[in-house]
Subunit: 496 residues, 2 copies
Amino acid sequence: MEQISKFKEMLMKQKAYGYVLNLAGWDSNTEAPRGAFARRAEMLGVISGELFELNTSEEYQEVVYGLFKKFNELDDITQREIKKAKKDLDKIIKIPKNEFVEYNKLINLSQLVWEDAKANNDFNAFKGNLEKIVAFTKKFVDYYKIDDHPYNVLLDGFEDGMSMKEYDEFFNTLKEDLVPFVKEVLNSGKVLNDAFITDFYPREKQKEFAEYLIDVLAFNRDNGLMKESVHPFTWNTHSTDVRFTTRYLEDFMFSSIFAAIHELGHATYEQQIDPKWDDTYLDGGTSMGIHESQSRFYENIIGRSLEFWEVHYPKLKEIFPEQLKNVSLDDFYRGVNKVEASFVRVEADELTYSLHIMIRYEIERMLFSDEVKVEDLPEIWNEKMVEYLGIEPSNDTEGVLQDVHWSVGMFGYFPTYALGSAYAAQFYYTMKKDLNIEEIVKANEIKTINNWLKEKIHQYGGSKTPKELLVEVTGEEFNPKYYIQLLKDKYGKLYL
Amino acid sequence: MEQISKFKEMLMKQKAYGYVLNLAGWDSNTEAPRGAFARRAEMLGVISGELFELNTSEEYQEVVYGLFKKFNELDDITQREIKKAKKDLDKIIKIPKNEFVEYNKLINLSQLVWEDAKANNDFNAFKGNLEKIVAFTKKFVDYYKIDDHPYNVLLDGFEDGMSMKEYDEFFNTLKEDLVPFVKEVLNSGKVLNDAFITDFYPREKQKEFAEYLIDVLAFNRDNGLMKESVHPFTWNTHSTDVRFTTRYLEDFMFSSIFAAIHELGHATYEQQIDPKWDDTYLDGGTSMGIHESQSRFYENIIGRSLEFWEVHYPKLKEIFPEQLKNVSLDDFYRGVNKVEASFVRVEADELTYSLHIMIRYEIERMLFSDEVKVEDLPEIWNEKMVEYLGIEPSNDTEGVLQDVHWSVGMFGYFPTYALGSAYAAQFYYTMKKDLNIEEIVKANEIKTINNWLKEKIHQYGGSKTPKELLVEVTGEEFNPKYYIQLLKDKYGKLYL
């Protein structure tokens, strides 16, 4: 008992450090001026160092390993906490503090370097930082002394229990079943009335519609907010402070709409987690894949459905009467689901999206198998774009430099995006058994869907693993057939 | 030497904790959703507690007191650092940690309570918190065991070397020389063409002009930003990240203009501090009074001058062509300097402003002399408003609840506002000897004024005391005659 309360006490301290670092991250990503970053890296380096001390202190090790030895005497929740805590501890204690601090400083600064490199289409300006980040990551994985392929260690870090074996299987299924279908769709010769997509939509007006969407999706404004950033994301520390961003491209309104709905999906998950997990090791969403399943569910399954736009297209037309004057609901719905080979992942359509992820997965897989070097990435990137999507980026800004992830050391994260999309489909076919989803969307009662997801998934926070959730909610293990079925049904009707 | 580097090392750690707490404060004041605050108080309570441990650790005491014993062997800068560090240490080590943490939680939450109370015109809803804050403050001052009146201890905390003796003298001079003059002005019967002041000025358009002012005042946008908040303020941690806020009242445009110029004054001070002080105990502006002298200098002496509006009024007219159609430059200038008895300090004109401060000073003086109770404040407030300004607030929102300061435990701060205004005048008459200020403002070359202030005041950060700065820059000690002279000259011409 004493050890448990000691564990809780130390955990609260760790959470407080994580909290302020998180808050600084939100600031860095949404408003901090450029001049802030050098000093910030110093200051946050100190705080990360302190957190590292807490996370690796002998006292903490004694408590966690001590409790792990008495595993069978612990209640179910404490067992889950200690299991997770031990898994993290096993890794972090292997890393020398000075390297940890140095790494954190590096990634704090690299995001800015990447932003500049992307703005100036200058991969070389970013290459040095990326090499350092990759080298650190490899060294850290090596320190862990886990008897597995380095990339498996990284993959498991973002999605409990996933390895190259499962992902290879998943992506191979996509290659076999989806890639030929995508080619069929791309070659269908279907002509859309879609000039409106790239019309001019003033920023402020887009913001007005994004604010409207917040209420449509029943987001709780007392416990969160929406802001703007270059790369949309959701930020959270606890269920009563959940924030997200979107971005406004004046010549591509869909960007703000679907980024907002996507992030609202993440945000709804976080807002609906039972606050009882806040003080435990099981707070927050359970994994990146499950998180992404929620954002994709709202973005694609709800947000790109005909029923959704039957209700909300009039509002959009009211905000943009000129731009949408000659655009029927059917045109708009087809525009929202327009399939095309494109360069930028975050703007990719629902159907080709996972091919963008496959490219990143394969590149990371090679990188951490020492089959390629950082300097080769631009070329490999472009080759794979040609292979899977039949198009070649004309510069690195729309190629290898497009994503923020690597600049902040997130390797092994990308595949959870495709996995999440597939989870979403599996959840969808289960939800259909309980709810008339189409009618609910048409009635603008999304709260009913939120409630279902809360009951089945959200409330549990990190207290169930992704695998447990899938089996408990859908009655079976992960099965990509639902994803392929959903895509073929929808896009077969639209294009073939 | 070893002790010095130990001191530096511990100082950096303290700075890092201060940094993240500061950042959280910025977030709390500019965007955090309401739901964030309960959890935030817990989390920041932990971090404040950790900082408290650092600030009071035996190791730190040994270093600071150890170095203080060798005071004469230290170089000038280290002497100044140790002197300041010891002064803070002497106080903080007297406070029990649990009380310190509890106090910090209390003030983190009280601001929200105050906001609600103000919004609902409900002093009773805030009274309990305020009583607790006052009780804590008294207890803390008592712990310090400084042989002085409690209010003197608080006053000195915000302005090194100031006590009731000096402030009484200052405010008595104002009472004798200024109050009769203010009455004369208020009774002059002068009629202004000032209906435009309360016309409707859309928020977005006001923001456009505030953005314009940022460039007029040569603020460095790479090292800072402007945002919006209920109570305008400047926030800073180091010269390359200086932020400030303004607020937009659509029926009172002057609020955003002069809040922006005022805060730009604070921000310019911070941006112009030599970064060499960042890693020392002498970072930031030297005192609240000197800080306020800079904001008041820009706001009143520059921002409310005829020359300033000769240059910038055309821009304002361009943004608000309808509202300012029939308003001449002379009308506008008189409007900007309109004197009236009003309720709200932050909107008060230059001439009556210090009377608002006097009221707060006298109330705090009584509160910390145990002559009044918190529950009596609304009544006393209203009585003093009648006494000095001849008007009585009709509710507590425009009375005792108007300022944020007490809700965050800042007692002894208010008088620095009046003191700063008087410092500003003293600096002004010195600057006039070197620069043709009127010509510079007319030529829109405010950078020249910034440079003068940088050279004489800003660059030194906290390395000189307010008294030193005054003597070195102006050649004499603080003398309120300049303030009175400036006000009488300006408002005599305008009204008498």
